[in-house]
Symmetry: C2
Subunit: 278 residues, 2 copies
């Protein structure tokens, strides 16, 4: 089977699955609505198909036990960890803790002595915000490289091309905060931060949701402008006169210069990013 | 200039810079010691050269102002943000807050009303742990792809190949926690979590340092085994008889088993003694 046919058959199968009413393989079982526009845009291109996505979410996770056969495992989420709450919905964020308390998922005590929680055997409860992530299978390296460059230019700085030209589009808009611990004796979850602090985290999560959606929109626009429309341009150009093409090239040149200047500004402000690239 | 020459010249220039006594372009100005072994290993391969690295660090960052020309900018670090503390050193983590308090970098109040901090205009103080990250320029896609696959197989799940076969090796071992705010009136930094909570974060940071170093070691071993030694094997095996190759394979199998047992022991001892590298 030729490479081209292999890609086309794979794409056909994936689109069939996306369009079917069957639940997908994610814990949630369905595609996040916020992802649909950019997925449709990408899948409209003959050389790309989306393979997995998450629009961004708040999750509250209770770690499993790290004591395995008498040995404490460093790091990781431990065995038997579970999600206490997961939501992709901006409008539900502010109420999650009230709901969780109603369902007795948390014990809130007037004062907790955190010192008693300072050893590696504790199962902590983690409050996480995770941003938009998208995986796109491309027909060849040229296509993967083009999509990668567009994603990077929109600030998706943790993007990369994997094996089989699968592009991972990632951005670093995160929260990762321990908010409590699992009481092994009473078998419940105890908050060791002020409930007001949860309100603050929720507020930050909302701003991250907004930032995330804005970034998704930027990415959508840039993919449309630099990948989808370019294909149309090539078709149109046949009909353009030499002068029209010349003017178009000049405008494209100016646009490129603008982009370079913007990127300079961005790289300036990203001085506060974690490492420098020589 | 042929592609090969371009890579070789680039590699030569980078190695010259790495080996020079001049400070590099990172905020810290020098290469993290923990990165040197894996950098040397990778740079010993004719088709790879390291371009940037960070061994993992704790940083405490005060956001800049997000109110720009009367408009609140959603997300980002704001203008004029600054680091209050940065350390790559496992042994300094437990003391950072004491030092910071001595230098009056933080005001700790008996009770803070967080409610008064629940709006987007606040400049928050963020406690971050960021793990090991490494960028490696490869000669071609085949080399980049091989390094990418090795990194993924060691759990560096956020790795990816960028443009010009630059491989980013990334892992998601993070903390990202708001711990206070900048008091614009008094012009100082106020902690809005219990100082004991900082102790807890420091403890988690130490376990993340350990997990991170273990992962770096796994990556070192796998690169050595599957990329560096493979080259040697190809050269050697030409000269080996079938029996010698068979014996070699058996010995390699035993060595692998030994390594697994050693790693079990190490992960055990790295809990009891607080050693930062095997």
């Amino acid at each position: 089977m030729s490479k081209q046919n292999a890609f086309d058959q794979k794409k056909q199968a994936i689109l069939k699955e996306i369009n079917s009413l069957q639940p997908d393989l994610s814990p949630k079982g369905t595609i996040d609505e916020l992802c649909l526009p950019i997925m449709r845009l990408i899948n409209s291109h003959i050389d790309m198909v989306t393979t997995s996505s998450c629009s961004g979410r708040l999750s509250v996770f209770a770690e499993g036990t790290k004591m395995i056969k008498g040995v404490t495992k460093v790091g990781g989420k431990g065995e038997g960890g579970r999600w206490l709450y997961v939501s992709h919905d901006y409008n539900k964020i502010s109420n999650w803790f009230l709901e969780a308390k109603k369902e007795n998922q948390f014990r809130v005590e007037s004062s907790i002595d955190i010192s008693s929680r300072l050893d590696g055997n504790n199962r902590y409860i983690l409050y996480k915000y995770e941003p938009f992530i998208l995986h796109v299978k491309c027909r060849d390296f040229a296509m993967a490289s083009k999509l990668y460059n567009v994603a990077m230019s929109c600030g998706f700085r943790e993007s990369g091309i994997g094996s089989n030209f699968l592009v991972g589009i990632r951005i670093n808009i995160k929260l990762d905060v321990p908010i409590g611990y699992v009481d092994e004796v009473k078998g419940d979850n105890v908050l060791f931060v002020d409930p007001k602090y949860i309100e603050l985290l929720d507020l930050l999560t909302l701003t991250k949701f907004e930032e995330n959606v804005k970034k998704m929109q930027d990415l959508y626009n840039k993919i449309e402008e630099e990948i989808i429309n370019e294909v149309k341009d090539i078709l149109i150009e046949r009909k353009l006169t030499k002068d029209e093409i010349r003017e178009k090239k000049i405008n494209e040149g100016l646009a490129r210069q603008r982009k370079i200047q913007e990127e300079r500004l961005n790289s300036l402000s990203s001085e506060t990013e974690k490492i420098s690239i020589k």
